[in-house]
Amino acid sequence: MQELVDSLVADGFVPGGLPLWVAYLGAMLVFGGIVVFVFILPIAGITTWVERRVAGRIQSRIGPNRTGPAGFLQWLADGIKSVLKEDIVPSAADVPLFKLAPYVVMTGFVAAFVVVPFGGPLIIADLNVGILYLTAVTALVVVGILMAGWASNNKWSLLGGIRSAAQIVSYEIPAGLSILPVVMLAGTLSMQGIIGHQGWAPWTWHVFDNPFTFFAFFILFVSALAEGNRTPFDLPEAESELVMGFATEYSGLRNLLFFMAEWGNLYVIGAVVTTLFLGGWQIPLALADHPVPRIVLQFAIFFAKAYFWVFVAVWLRWTLPRIRVDQMMIMCWKYLVPIAFVNFMGTAVWMVLFPAGVPAVRVLLSLTAAGLLVAFARRVVFHVRRALLTREELSFNPLSTARVMSRG
């Protein structure tokens, strides 16, 4: 984005007499405002709608379908409803902290978008510490959740808050260790640099670089789900045991802010996974010569990849049951952390042994993934066929046949 503003200034776009820093600040505010209000808000809202529709399908019901086509405007309706709700701050709560907590959570979530790439040159700021900054700033969410849990002065909230802190803090370790192989491979921390080190073809992606990164990818995704408090790791707000966890005392708009951050974080998870392991916005350059359609294509491919992982997260939520606290801790410290260590060391050894990479392994791993996808598609086809068959059988009506028979 800096190049764009620089070129605008060089072209004399800035009115004379205006100090240069004002022009830059204005540009930052405009671009930041566009990203926050045009991208983040709708993406967080629409994901709630997607989640409820998918949940409906998975549970053999319909889901929201009244507001707008297929219930698409449900997220707006929910937002408006939340704005119109009475504001309740419990009299026993620590009021300043109680009111500050949603701000902190939202800050941790919104600030992550500074380094989330959108496609091609579209990125707010390609920080040279990109991925490290992202892990650091998303950790602000823990502070907010802990603040909310403590300030509510409610036993459910306190338990939810400290559980959440323990969980997010534990899963930071495997997540951080799974990022390191990619950093070693790309030799940079910047998001655009990491994407630039990969190509459009699956066998050039980091996930298929060697067997260790293949596992690091899954560890990162699982840890990111745990950090985002998603089922099967949604213990902090486990509604069947802790009412609503850290958000028990929050109602109306403040509750909405917490959950906007949670659903928006799903997209951040998808974008991080895509950037680090799945080739980001890379497309074959022959596909589009002109910059504008190329950027549109790059945005589309990045969004599709990132949103696929949002869909997977939603799908996991409505498929798997919640795990217990001790299981969650054991899984992190006794399985994910040692395996992540092995991945890290394995990648280092691999890079020393094969500085140029092993094309055969890349192709083999890509073929393995393709095989898994084909096997999965066959399962889907099988189930769809079976569902269609049952529907036919259900529509079989003995009375109508009886009538036909009597006529005959």
Partner: protein, 143 residues
């Protein structure tokens, strides 16, 4: 460079503006019918018993301690990881790998120590019961 990092501050500001705008809009639109009953702490419909600012389990402190050790370690590894490729290109890959191995091995010993000491167990048992098989839960005969 300054421009890049100024964006971070702008986004912090925008997040606060976003929350402030929404809450401010709510302030204008929402009803306000205060009632002391609404402002009590929720405890499943019962009057709340005592304060919620209580001591919580020591296990959480242990997790926090272990976390700090490993997070600092990751913070130290990140710069090494970022230049590892350059070292290999300069033909010093084996040397860099040996250094990383020593560093990670020390921390692996730390993980093993914590593990053996039983601090990764979430369900703990008192020392005198350690090693015994878990007691059968009391059978409740149907009334």
């Amino acid at each position: 460079m300054y421009f890049q990092f100024a964006n971070v501050l702008v986004f912090f500001l925008l997040a606060f503006v976003l929350c402030g705008l929404m809450l401010g809009l709510g302030l204008l639109l929402r009803p306000s019918n205060p009632h002391p009953g609404k402002l009590t702490t929720y405890e499943c419909g019962e009057p709340p018993s005592g304060n919620a600012w209580i001591n919580f389990n020591i296990r959480f402190y242990l997790i926090a301690l272990v976390f700090v050790i490993f997070e600092v370690e990751i913070a130290f590894i990140v710069p090494v990881a970022a230049v590892f490729r350059d070292w290999i290109a300069r033909g010093q890959g084996a040397f860099a790998l040996a250094e990383i191995t020593v560093f990670v091995a020390i921390l692996a010993v730390g993980l093993v120590y914590v593990w053996v000491k039983g601090d990764l167990e979430w369900l703990k048992r008192l020392p005198q019961y350690r090693g015994e098989p878990a007691a059968e839960p009391l059978r409740r005969d149907a009334a």
